[in-house]
Homo-oligomer: 212 residues x 2
DNA sequence: GAGCATACCTACTCGTGCGTAGGGTTACGC
DNA sequence: GCGTAACCCTACGCACGAGTAGGTATGCTC
């Protein structure tokens, strides 16, 4: 008898994106465990069984979120930092893209990122992404140094890169918590710490000749 | 009639510590939500109601863990970095103490720290601690610069300090995940990045004169 | 050695939230 | 215009885990 249904019927691909949007939002607000599938479904404007039908288990749903956001970010960065530029310019553009991304998705991405670290099932996924970033940064540093005829042990390079990535993530958190802050400016600051600090260090200057 | 009881009766203070030990362990393994009070109680060798009687709610228990570990760490750092030393020496000793602490408590502290970031109720507690650290680091940098007759805007100082603290936490995570790594060496590396990078930067050298 | 506080337990209640069973309706191909 | 597949719903079952009720034993004090 059909009093026109309040809901539109939509193709699967669209609904999936809506669900992912809702999931990202709710997961980031509440955290993985505290988030309920019911709330996600409601926020997506759809009923729970649909979520299960399309995206599966709660864990699978979370992984899907992680995956989508992760890919987006990586593409944003990769797109900005073309490999044929000089290393410092690549680093700068990469940082700009990164902070721009975080600034745009604020509560979305950053908190999702914060979530994933805590829960065992997802820590691995995250670690992989971070590892890729570290590798890229280490690559840039290495490239820049070789261009100047210097050479540095791989491990040192990696640890320094790790520290830089950590500092960057930390500033991203700070940015996510300070809506008034300017992503561009944050990127500049990070660039300064990174390029100058790492540069100095890897050029052979050390604070204290390690006695061990 | 008393067939000697399998459990020893112990004074409250002792049991509380045992419970906290167990709680830290379980929380760090499983995460706040996934951890069950039953498991914590069992691991502490005691029954659940005792936990509630002594340490209260699950949330309160977690806060107690956070508090104990946090205080321990802060004391370790404060004890090492006496305020009458020159800034670089203070920073160095602080870092050594910090990484030493993380190295000693590995899965305990680091993962607990990772946990607290994700869950709203505790994020604040953590933020406060981090803020204190940032303040201290910023103070060191400021002190060092004033000694050389330079002056830097407060916000810049704070953001740089924030980045340094972030980098340090990041390396602490790395350390916690690499049991074979040497805390001392990690501290040296961090010291290099921190002191040289921040020093350069705050001395007025900039990578690119910010055009905004 | 009686009284009382403290340490300690077993065994429940009850809410919450994941995941599903089973069924209805719209569009699209033929 | 009719079958069939895709979209979508209202319920529920069921496990798990936080927190509690109510009681027992042990040691300490006077």
């Amino acid at each position: 008898m059909s009093t026109a249904p309040a809901f539109k019927r939509l193709p699967r691909a669209v609904r999936e994106q809506q669900m992912l949007d809702a999931a990202v939002k709710v997961f980031s607000r509440r955290g993985f465990h505290a988030a309920s599938m019911d709330e996600i479904a409601e926020d997506a404007g759809i009923s729970k069984p649909m979520v299960y039908a399309y995206l599966g288990t709660k864990e699978e749903l979370f992984v899907a979120c992680l995956h989508r956001e992760g890919t987006r970010m990586m593409q944003a960065i990769a797109g900005a930092a073309a490999p044929d530029l000089p290393a410092d310019e690549r680093l700068w553009r990469g940082l700009r893209a990164f902070f721009g991304f975080v600034g745009a998705y604020r509560d979305g991405w950053a908190v999702l990122y914060r979530q994933a670290r805590g829960e065992q099932p997802f820590a691995g996924e995250l670690a992989t992404m971070r590892a890729r970033l570290v590798e890229v940064v280490a690559g840039m540093l290495d490239h820049a140094l070789r261009a100047e005829g210097r050479e540095v042990a791989g491990t040192d390079l990696e640890v320094v890169a790790y520290a830089l990535v950590g500092a960057t993530e930390s500033l991203a958190d700070w940015l996510a918590d300070h809506p008034e802050a300017d992503p561009e400016k944050t990127a500049t600051r990070m660039m300064n710490v990174a390029w100058l600090g790492a540069g100095q260090l890897l050029h052979g200057v050390t604070w204290r000749p390690a006695s061990d």
